[in-house]
Amino acid sequence: MKVTPAKDYRKPLYAVGVAAAVLALATTGCTDPKPKPGIDYAGDIQMVSETTEESVMELITDGIVSSN
């Protein structure tokens, strides 16, 4: 196990393709451009927060492996 910086990484094609499609939707007003700030579950390094019903939850980092 070492800290090893990655080299020659290229943005995946899926991200390029979908980002372009989402941008097209955004310019037609079909998406919510400003998700609301939400409260997150405490207790894990990587946690989830829901913005809208449809929303994919965000990766955020708060709290730690703790009592729960």
């Binding site: 990655a6 499609a21 579950y41 990587q46 946690m47 955020i60 729960n68």
Partner: protein, 353 residues
């Protein structure tokens, strides 16, 4: 603003990876209400996450906070949102009815098939049978609840099995994180096995995608959707600005692993937040030097001061464990993303963006 309320330092479980000292220190009603006021005093919404110890040992305080904040929200027009992270053993119908009324989000700490390896009652007896029943009850009332699993090295062989088990139980959202801190000892072999388990998980997510079934597995889904959105909430450490913990005595700290370290005390619920100290802390947070030249620097959790401090003792120094895990997770997530995008780009965009 958002606050994590440590309602008590006490817990009825004795999980092997827990780094908190258990002690019979409970939050007083006075501290609780002051904390609620603070949540409403700043920002456009008030958020509380009930936490502990085990928060359900203090159900009375949760009911009080909900009544108080709902009233305050009606008076001020400020939106109020609540969540709770619980071990689930003390859930009951009365509480779940109140939680449903309050639209509370509940995160159930449940390690799935590995539950009894690390998560036992204070007397050492297993918790899996009890928590499985409570999980079913929880999902009956709040079907959007999230299962939060913490994977210690001993639990790695059960990683994929646990995801499947939790999904079969009815969870549509699961969060799997690896255990950090001085109580766990990861080896290269553990991480090799973890890779295999993550690959099995990705294969399972692909099967569900083909069946047009939505299932949210935080670690992988978030890496894919953040990549699409070109954002990463973990890119910058949010020490003290995103969700401050409040200890039972009302002290405010930047994040859970800093609790008790006076150098990081950011104020208290009676006198408010020391904003100068918050700014000073934010300025100190930096991308770890080892990561500056890495192509994944914007997709990785390298800047999490909390994880860094737990693993290396320095909030700005990332650990080999975290680096290895992040690289593996990004690679597996991207491979899955490419596959799903090829299978059905429209469905993929709908599921992941």
């Amino acid at each position: 603003m958002n606050l994590t309320l440590h309602l008590t330092d006490n817990c009825n479980l004795d999980c092997s990876y827990c780094i908190r000292e258990k002690c019979p220190k409970d939050m007083s009603e006075e501290v609780l209400l002051k904390a609620c006021d603070l949540a409403f005093a700043q920002g456009i919404q008030a958020g509380l996450c009930f936490f502990g110890g085990e928060p359900l040992l203090k159900k009375d305080l949760i009911y009080k906070a909900l009544d108080y904040c709902e009233k305050k929200s009606a008076e001020t027009g400020i939106r109020f949102e609540s969540k709770m992270t619980t071990n689930g053993t003390l859930l009951d119908e009365e509480f779940l009815e109140r939680a449903r009324d309050a639209k509370m989000g509940i995160g159930l700490s449940f390690d799935g098939k590995a539950q009894d390896i690390c998560r036992v009652f204070a007397n050492g007896s297993p918790t899996s049978a009890v928590v499985e029943e409570k999980a079913k009850l929880l999902l009956k009332y709040l079907p959007d609840s999230v299962a939060l699993a913490t994977i210690a090295p001993q639990a790695v062989p059960y990683y994929f099995e646990s995801i499947k088990y939790l999904h079969d139980l009815g969870f549509r959202k699961v969060s799997f994180v690896i255990a950090y801190g001085h109580k766990v000892n990861w080896t290269d072999e553990d991480l090799d096995l973890l890779r295999t388990e993550l690959e099995k998980t990705a294969e399972y997510l692909k099967e569900l995608f083909i069946k047009n079934e939505r299932f949210y597995m935080s670690a992988i889904n978030a890496k894919i959707s953040d990549c699409i959105k070109g954002k990463n909430n973990a890119e910058r450490c949010h020490l003290g600005v995103r969700q401050m913990p409040v200890t039972p005595d009302g002290s405010l700290y930047p994040c859970t692993s800093f609790i008790g370290d006076k150098a990081y005390l950011l104020g208290d619920v009676f006198n408010g937040i020391n904003n100068e100290k918050v700014i000073e802390m934010a300025k100190r947070a930096a991308t770890p030097e080892t990561c500056l030249e890495c192509d994944l620097v914007k997709r990785c959790t390298n800047s999490c001061g909390c994880a860094n401090r737990m693993n290396t003792g320095d909030e700005n120094k990332v650990s080999p464990l975290q680096c290895t895990y992040e690289r593996m997770l990004i690679e597996i997530s991207d491979n899955l993303g490419e596959e799903l995008y090829q299978i059905d780009p429209v469905r993929f965009a709908k599921f992941y963006s």
